[in-house]
Symmetry: C2
Subunit: 387 residues, 2 copies
DNA sequence: GGTGATCCTGCAAAGGTTTGCAGTGAAGTA
DNA sequence: TACTTCACTGCAAACCTTTGCAGGATCACC
């Protein structure tokens, strides 16, 4: 770390060989100093480390990858980075990966299934595994791709593959029960993309909960999972005569509130709205959004853990393993379901039955129907529950 | 592409050698088929390509990187992925990179300068260049790191290095002029982080514009560039007696509006608020935020272009180049300034002087002071202007 | 038929690291 | 002393690709 070297260190790439020369040992000893320290004499080790530090040596991961077959990289394939649902997931995944000395490639598919497939192929040779977040392609294609590179799927259930799921079914149930408890008996479900697993789960759970609570549930959709998708159906919602709406996600819920506002329909006085995801934004709109919080960060962390876990066993690229059904180790296919939590804020209020008993124009100030208070939502724990 | 092979293709990694064997040529011919097609006989080429396709061959980028010295990867170092300012930039950069057959590593520093430095080191050997977005470390450290790996800096001016800047000075000027035009003569500038280049530019430009317009400008801050940072100074803003505020960014502006609201101060009736960035969120809050739109996506694209441009010349890791001032090619150090645009929405209204002349309670509906109408903001063009 | 040019292909080294194997010397045991 | 064990280190092959060089075939031209 002398001043002289630090100035020019990077003009010439310094390799394991330079360190070997400087410390008077063979390159293999230098290599072992980094990858298997217990095999080298402590004295030698400190000397080598000192020289390495002095020269500014950093192992070349490409060369290492070439021989070990492990890149220490993972791929993260995202439908749309700009969708506020994903950044917390990306952030958590990147952080978790880095703690385990992995780097992450991020790729955006623009919600295009074709791009998803191409990206898996393109990344396959360059990563030890791929996280597929809310994929839009078919299950069978996912299964096929998983033979090329270890995969963990987030927000989608694929049998035989490790998946990280959020229990939106439970969340939808809680939301419907919340609405029914407020006196709503005509409720709409604002559906998302048809190919979305989350969408199917929500529909099923919401229908069951509505039936159990004696409420009528209207299905609207499919719709684009965006703000525009939400505002576009405002008119339809008004005409349908429902007094409450559960939206596929927060963006749609916010769009819907916008759209209703433009039609002169007030939220929550005339229509209650519940979203899903609890994106940061949902705390900042007015009214603040009642929503089903999904543990996105926990999902990112968990997915990385699962990926790295299944990676450990076989050193990739093991040649000569007989194809077909080798009776050796089989990849773990555990599926993890993360809990969701209903966060009650200001976009839901008493329904038609309860309305007469309510003081008029109470849209400001602490809402009486909010148990925890708007500022202290019940946060999602993200505890993992194997299913 | 037969069914038989596609099933097991990835169990055994297929290399250039397998393709060579299958097509009856030497591996170098296969290599050339991909990296220099014009050097191989068309007939041979189609045969090789067919075999490659059939076997599912994909070039191993690690091996290629090892010999060419170019990884075809770039690094993207971000202060905070979850900050809504960044995702559009990441998305654009990733897209642009991919179009040029590059993949991008994304890393999050959590606003920690130490993490920034470590990440540059960690990524250096694995990428052809790094994009440093809104770095928090010192200029001198950035310069030093740039000797290790080609760097492009976004949102920060470092002499001698290629930079992509947004003209927030112009934006701040436009915002102040807009406010003065509305009749505000006591304005506050809600400052951001002290180490931020943007922050300094804004202060300077706002001060000049205020002086020119005969308005009094109060500097508040530094503050955290977050919603909380904004809401925390609401009380201070009220006490200061200003009628308008220009905030460091949209998040702070939104936080401030929240905080003022909690104090019973209405926006824009009593205080006008202008943000900077035009994050998606700013269209969704109520009131919709008047803000200085920064061309984030264009910045991401431009930064990638500049990085790749300076990469082309020298094939990295050229050994034996004399250190010191080689009189050969010098890295391009062009600095690009992108234009910003003031987008007028609903969080700004007439100031004290103009107020009497205004119809009361006109907070809903199309605002008379909004030239383009709330739905059709003047969008940032992002035209590049070399400086 | 000889000369030269052109086009294509093969050969082999190189790039930085890991790792099985073998070798060295010292310490421990009989 | 002889033998084994042990800790450490060196040797060299291997990973997959690129690329300068040279050889071979073909063709045109004189």
């Amino acid at each position: 770390m002398t001043a002289a070297t630090s100035d020019e260190r990077a003009a010439v790439p310094v390799t394991i060989r330079d360190v070997a020369r400087a410390s008077g040992v063979h390159i293999s000893t230098v290599s072992r100093t980094f990858s298997a320290p217990h095999l080298v004499n402590p004295e030698t080790r400190v000397r080598v480390l000192a020289c390495a530090e002095d020269l500014g040596y950093r192992p070349n991961r490409a060369a290492r990858a070439l021989i070990t077959g492990r890149t220490h990289n993972i791929g993260l394939i995202i439908a749309d980075i700009a969708n506020p649902f994903f950044p917390p997931l990306i952030k958590a995944a990147e952080s978790q990966a880095r703690h385990r000395d992995y780097h992450v490639f991020v790729a955006d598919t623009n919600e295009d299934p074709t791009a998803e497939e191409e990206l898996v192929h393109a990344l396959a040779k360059q990563v030890d595994g791929v996280l597929l977040c809310s994929p839009r392609m078919s299950n069978s294609l996912i299964e096929q791709l998983s033979r090329e590179v270890p995969l963990v799927v987030v927000n989608r259930q694929v049998t035989g593959l490790p998946c990280v799921l959020m229990d939106v079914g439970q969340g939808a149930r809680a939301a419907i029960e919340h609405l029914i408890g407020l006196g709503h008996h005509r409720i709409a479900l604002l559906g998302g993309p048809r190919s979305s697993w989350t969408n199917r789960e929500m529909r099923r759970a919401a229908a069951t909960a509505a039936r159990a609570g004696g409420a009528e549930l209207t299905m609207l959709g499919p719709n684009a999972p965006t703000e525009t998708g939400g505002s576009a159906v405002a008119e339809q919602v008004r005409r349908s005569g429902v007094s409450a709406v559960l939206a596929y996600n927060d963006l749609m819920a916010i769009g819907l509130i916008e759209g209703l506002d433009a039609l002169g329909v007030r939220v929550p006085q005339e229509v209650s709205v519940v979203g899903v995801d609890d994106i940061a934004l949902s705390r900042l709109t007015r009214p603040k959004l009642t929503t089903v919080a999904t543990p996105t960060a926990a999902a990112g962390r968990t997915a990385v853990d699962m990926l790295l876990q299944q990676d450990i066993e076989s050193p990739r690229g093991a040649r000569g393993l007989g194809a077909g059904t080798a009776l050796g180790v089989r990849r773990t296919t555990a599926q993890v379901m993360l809990q969701t939590d209903l966060v009650i804020r200001d976009s839901t209020g008493p329904g038609p039955r309860a309305r007469p008993a309510r003081p008029p124009a109470a849209s400001r100030g602490p809402d009486p129907h909010c148990p925890a208070g708007p500022g202290t939502p019940t946060t999602a724990t993200g505890d993992a529950v194997a299913s």
